[in-house]
């Protein structure tokens, strides 16, 4: 029996040479879409996180290339429309995207803000809440939110559920696609491909604790360089995320291509998947059961023989009256 892979604590390590078995097991799942009562996992994996230090990013897109290579996706060749984003948006074949924004700061200087967009791996995932297909979206105890294509029905509810506009429906495969946080690499002790490829270590990976500690070092450094508002983006409205940003302007996340200020699962989605679902099912169930029971025990509204007779009389009497005299009948 081969040894189980260790839990990864960095993306920088080289792969082991000996064969290792997966360390991300079905029993490590803590949430399953459209499934109540997920059995409590036997063990709690160390929470992991990817940290994206926007201040260190040079916009080289090595992360995108690594993502395409590792996940074997095939983004379409597109037209150059005069911006650096390539492709134009996240697509079912492009799980991560460098978004470029030009910002003129109050001092009048231009800042080129580059943010690597993609799934944030929310602690409280809106996609999973919205999903109607059992097992199509799972969350592992290390925080990774993963789509299971074989259970996905391609309905697009996760697109509406996501507070970050991340999932994309594949037009031919008819399944939803997004960043997996390289769950298949993490399972065998490796960090995500993007973090491994990043030449400036703007992307790092490890336990969430270690990444927060690293972020704090970076924030301190940025503050010493005059970025007074530098900070960590780990939005608590979704319970924190397992992809975090170090931002030089953490007070204004919207500067970074519309990163949401205070993301949370929309109250509309909560209402749809909460009260509507429960009360709606109860109302329909009660109405159906009540109708069947009452239908069985009620003798119904019967037409009497007398009424049949009266109808006959009415018709015959009308027929006997010439049309011009029928007004009062």
């Amino acid at each position: 029996m081969t040894e189980r892979a260790p839990q990864p604590t960095t993306a920088a390590a080289n792969p082991p040479v000996q064969p290792l078995t997966s360390n991300l097991l079905p029993s490590d799942v803590v949430r399953i879409s459209a499934t109540a009562n997920v059995p409590a996992p036997e063990r709690q994996l160390e929470k992991v996180a990817k940290l994206i230090d926007v201040s260190k990013c040079i916009g080289c897109k090595a992360c995108q290339s690594a993502c395409i290579e590792w996940n074997d996706t095939h983004p379409d060749m597109e037209e150059n429309v005069g911006v650096y984003e390539n492709p134009h948006d996240l697509t079912p074949e492009m799980f991560t995207l460098m978004r470029f924004d030009e910002y003129v700061n109050p001092e009048g200087d231009l800042e080129w803000l580059i943010r690597k967009d993609g799934c944030m791996h929310c602690e409280d995932p809106g996609c999973l809440k919205a999903c109607p297909a059992p097992g199509a979206i799972v969350q592992y105890s290390n925080g990774i939110v993963d789509f299971v294509s074989s259970n996905c029905i391609g309905c697009g509810y996760c697109v509406s559920g996501c507070p970050f506009d991340v999932p994309r429906i594949h037009k031919t495969a008819q399944v939803s696609k997004k960043c997996t946080l390289c769950s298949d690499r993490v399972a065998v002790g490796q960090g995500p491909a993007c973090a491994k490829a990043c030449p400036t270590q703007a992307i790092t990976f490890g336990t969430k604790e270690s990444q927060i500690a690293l972020a704090n070092e970076r924030i301190e450094d940025l503050k010493s360089r005059g970025y007074d508002n530098a900070g960590l983006y780990d939005p608590q409205g979704v319970g924190g995320t397992h992809v975090m940003y170090v931002l030089h302007h953490a007070d204004k996340p919207g500067l970074y291509s519309g990163l949401p200020e205070d993301p949370r699962i929309s109250p509309v989605v909560e209402g749809w998947k909460g009260a509507t679902k429960t009360i709606g099912l109860a109302a329909m169930g009660l109405a159906a059961a009540g109708a069947v029971l009452h239908g069985l025990f009620s003798k119904g509204n019967q037409v009497s023989a007398e009424e049949e007779h009266e109808a006959e009389e009415l018709v015959v009497k009308t027929a006997a009256t010439p049309p011009e005299n029928r007004e009062g009948l």
């Binding site: 459209a34 499934t35 109540a36 919205a130 109607p132 297909a133 059992p134 259970n151 029905i153 391609g154 309905c155 697009g156 509810y157 697109v159 509406s160 996501c162 506009d165 429906i169 008819q174 929309s266 509309v268 989605v269 209402g271 749809w272 509507t276 679902k277 709606g280 099912l281 109302a283 329909m284 109405a287 159906a288 109708a291 009452h294 239908g295 009620s298 119904g300 509204n301 019967q302 037409v303 009497s304 023989a305 007398e306 009424e307 049949e308 007779h309 009266e310 109808a311 006959e312 009415l314 018709v315 015959v316 009308t318 027929a319 010439p322 049309p323 029928r326 009948l329």
Partner: protein, 239 residues
């Protein structure tokens, strides 16, 4: 021929005993296409509505099939119901006697039809079902087109707001609330048709007994009786 209370085509078929033709064949076919669509939509929709009912998707071959079948049948239902609407809307307009009928709802439930006003082809309950179906189907088709993942690009040129995620969230909520509503109206419709004995045959064979018409829709029966041609005594049977 007056058609204040009856639809063209409604007529007294025979006098001994009296039977009255209530729906012609094409209307009945139209009704059953709508009914079958609604049943398929309800079952496939419930599969996506609540996880405990997801197993219903197995009836259609799984969730991937439900994903495209549900909206496609939705289009069928919309067109089919629209044709029914064209045939029925006029006689479903509210009338003075409807208010009296509603005020006597206790007698309706108790089956004391003799205490109710004389009615045309539809009573206020039937009119409620008609207009509730109309309103809910409009809401469902509109929100359904907004959340139909494959068709979302269709909105872009005409109403880009409808393709936005906040709009789709509202559409999902409205769609599921309307769906609950239409299932409740459907249950009421089926229940009332069964409870009011002698009603179902109007949608199977197309006719009802004279007594049924006399008891529940007397103004309708009176009008049809008046609309009958006066017997022409100068004609021989051979003519």
């Amino acid at each position: 021929m007056s058609h204040e209370y009856s639809a063209p085509g409604d007529h007294i078929e025979s006098t001994k005993p009296v039977t009255v033709s209530r729906y012609r064949g094409i209307t009945r076919l139209n009704h059953w296409v709508t009914a079958l669509s609604l049943i398929i939509l309800a079952i496939s929709g419930l599969a996506l509505f609540h996880p405990s009912l997801f197993f219903l998707s197995g009836l259609f071959g799984g969730g991937q099939v439900v994903r495209w079948l549900h909206p496609a049948v939705g289009i069928v239902l919309f067109i089919s119901f629209f044709l029914l609407f064209l045939q029925m809307w006029k006689l479903n307009l509210p009338r003075r006697e409807d208010a009296i009928w509603v005020a006597h709802i206790g007698d309706v439930v108790a089956g004391n039809d003799e205490k109710l006003p004389e009615l045309g082809k539809y009573n206020a309950g039937q009119k409620f079902v008609f207009w509730a179906m109309t309103g809910l189907i409009l809401l469902l088709i509109l929100t359904g087109l907004m959340i139909w993942e494959q068709q979302i690009p269709l909105w872009e040129p005409y109403a880009p707001w409808a393709a936005t995620i906040p709009a789709r969230r509202i559409a999902l909520l409205v769609h599921s609330l309307s769906a609950v509503g239409i299932v409740l109206v459907f249950i009421l419709h089926v229940y009332a048709a069964i409870w009011t004995r002698g009603t179902l045959r109007a949608m199977t064979t197309g006719s009802v007994t004279g007594g049924w018409a006399f008891r529940h829709h007397r103004k309708w029966l009176r009008e049809l009786a008046k609309n009958r041609k006066a017997p022409d005594n100068n004609k021989t049977p051979a003519e």
